[in-house]
Symmetry: C2
Subunit: 451 residues, 2 copies
């Protein structure tokens, strides 16, 4: 058995949130160790060199008002470039294709009006959302008591409008609208500064990409932690006392003054705590499920869709693909269409053969852009539902009743156990920016408790 090691703070999880937290704590002079279950850092970011570019199999975008990420990228000398978005977009809805310029798809005017009034209604509500304590939002409990689908049914009059709305939300959360509390949706959008920033490329969360890949942020932060990151070490148990904590992984035993769990709540639930955590926190682990997202990239000799005036963006409401983006490398040398399979389609994705999956992806692109899409030079996909140390992507969410039942427990430390991870953020929760904000907050809490 390994000898017990001693440090001041153990951070569990070497995703961006955990590494940021550790970096901050180290800057304050604390002795920190980061313990990570996987054989790599970066959590839900994972970048791979393909052709002339670096491509992200996980989180990949950066948008305006994500100031912490922008500052960190500058600090670490990580470069960004704009997501390609020029040209006509495609909507594949109820079996019919249509193309459009700008942001408003070609649909029957009553459908457009119906979607528009719903988005306006939600945006008006957003102004009053309390991101720190969402239940304090006006009508908070009633909004939490219903699914986003119920809200959509009571707000939109046409099934077409509801289908477009559901599709957009499915892409954002990796959940069906039935799965999420209406209040959680408002909380999430408010944390992003509004609904449109969630959907948009330009001026939105998909505006820019990282030349070296989003994982480079974590890789460089880990470099700064000079070998204080232990990989391949799933944490199995945490003993917590008034005087300190004992953190056991498959390879280590650490005695520390505090532990930060920089993990999604669903993964916190796999650690055995002694004594057991309070009921509300335990229940949070059971109820903060992860969304489901699969990223599928088809690589081509040329971005042939651009040549035909397409931006590469396709919104598909009929599944299994939900959205396609142009994901060509910065230098233009490696053309790529990135398809997202999300929600219930993603939960069933791995039960299909690779051939079938590839066929479905290429067929959807060919529907939009013609038969050239059927002949990629390479096909790469990443299914985050099948990663044991992610169990889903992009983020966790609370279903109906969740905020009322267990919301209080999301950020509150339990003695010497503190919580980071983008799920605990109040600014851009679910995004890289949220990971950093949560890491900063947790570091601040630990410092206040220890120093």
């Amino acid at each position: 058995m390994t000898a017990t090691q001693r440090c001041q703070v153990v951070v569990v999880g070497a995703g961006l949130s955990g590494l940021r937290c550790a970096d901050r704590l180290r800057s304050s002079g604390l002795k920190v160790r980061v313990i990570e279950a996987r054989d790599r850092v970066g959590g839900r970011t994972l970048s791979r060199r393909i052709g002339t570019g670096t491509f992200d199999l996980g989180g990949q975008w950066l948008g305006p008002s994500q100031d912490r990420v922008a500052a960190l990228a500058r600090e670490l000398d990580v470069h960004t470039f704009p997501t390609f978005h020029h040209g006509r977009r495609v909507l594949d809805h109820e079996g019919r294709l249509s193309t459009y310029d700008g942001t408003i798809p070609k649909m029957a005017p009553w459908v457009l009006l119906d979607v528009d009034q719903a988005l306006r209604r939600m945006s008006r509500r957003l102004k009053h959302v309390d991101v720190e304590q969402p239940l304090r939002t006006p009508d908070g409990a009633a909004l939490d008591g219903q699914s986003l689908e119920s809200w959509a049914r009571s707000t939109m009059f046409t099934s077409s409008a509801r289908a477009v709305f559901a599709s957009a939300m499915r892409i954002v959360f990796g959940f069906e609208t039935s799965d999420i509390s209406a209040l959680h949706t408002l909380f999430y959008a408010r944390a992003a500064g509004g609904l449109m920033p969630l959907f948009d490329i330009e001026n939105g969360a998909q505006q820019d990409r990282f030349v070296e890949g989003a994982q480079s942020l974590s890789l460089r932060l880990a470099d700064r932690l000079e070998g204080h990151v232990c990989l391949d070490s799933p944490v199995t148990s945490i003993e917590h006392r008034a005087s300190g904590v004992t953190v056991r992984s498959t390879h280590h035993i650490f005695e520390a003054d505090a532990v930060v769990l920089a993990l999604p709540p669903a993964l916190c639930g796999r650690i055995s705590f002694s004594p057991m955590l309070p009921s509300a926190r335990e229940s949070l682990h059971q109820r903060f499920a992860m969304g489901a997202t699969v990223k599928c990239m088809a690589f081509y000799e040329r971005p042939f869709w651009r040549e035909r005036g397409y931006s590469g963006e396709v919104v598909c409401t009929d599944g299994p693909v939900s959205v396609i983006f142009d994901n060509t490398s910065q230098d233009g040398g490696t053309a790529c269409l990135l398809s997202f399979v999300v929600g219930n389609d993603a939960r069933r994705w791995s039960s299909r053969s690779l051939d079938e999956r590839r066929g479905l992806i290429l067929a959807q692109s060919a529907r939009a852009f013609g038969p050239d899409a059927l002949k990629p030079v390479d096909y790469v996909e990443h299914d985050w539902c099948t990663e044991p140390f992610s169990v889903g992507c992009p983020t966790g969410a609370l279903g109906p009743g969740g905020w009322s039942a267990v919301g209080d427990a999301l950020r509150s430390n339990i003695g010497r156990i503190f919580f980071a991870g983008t799920e605990t953020a109040t600014v851009w929760t679910g995004f890289l920016e949220g990971a950093l904000q949560a890491g900063d907050r947790a570091a601040e809490e630990v410092r206040a408790a220890l120093v």
Copy 2:
């Protein structure tokens, strides 16, 4: 390290479902081992001798149409007796007490009519519910897309009716109506043969009690398994191959031909599977949260409420107590009022001091039955949310969208991994009867696969 042991089937979980499954498999001549995390058998049943009676800290009732339990009780020579229910009942609703005879509380007639039409509407729907595949129920997907609270809001016109309905459902599930899919509610009630059997004492699920306590069923089944039950052994990992399985607990390594997980889905999620289970099953573990129930028993010298014409039953819609029952021992020698704290009140229960908890319980009984309730000779409570190997009670449930997302994965074996546990039952799911039915089904599946 312990040497590897070999058997044909490992059953994980020595609750009633796992023990029944093991008993059946052993009768077919298979070599079986049961591995249990706790230091006892019985799962969510736990009986304790207090005064002149045996009292159940967990599941405790038996009702008509629960034929497997009745037959097993006869077989094991376990005796039952009727739950006391004679006299006036009390409703404590919106700060006002009222008493009533029979099953219809004294409320404004429009409220009674409102509750009645909702229950009738639900009962009509029940006839068409497909318990094997609930999504095949007419409007199944739409019913699954909404919380029971949304259904109640769209069905009942008065807030009083909704409060009474929510209170009844909270007692049944240990969940708020916001937390449960409307379709799940229908599935659960259909499996019980109707709504009223869920609520009622006479002719319902609360009709009879076990003289020796409900745990005696498991204790006697375990005796029959002659030392083939390993206690104190939480299973940590399961490796599964085409040729067999390797089950590791903190104390054992078993090589077997098959494994049966007789655990609620939420607890299956704490085991590390290699290879990882299919996405839909993994996601099921994340989404099938456990209800929250605390049982609080106050013991008295005499059942003084009976002397005043009360049955002991109190339905409280205002919380934190949701319902009280007369729970006096069969011989009448140990008088007891049993209070249930459920749902969100139960999730916060353990954050109060024992003094405060006891005070709240006794105050509620005193409101209904007078100050004699304030002077018990003993007070015993059991909070199932704080049991690490239950993480809630009485049962797990799917929130909105759950059946659509992961319902398929609930009962389906994954190669040599089979699933039992009352959550997987189609008859009286959530009850002892469901535990037995699920154990029988899993045993049948394993036999078909191995023999």
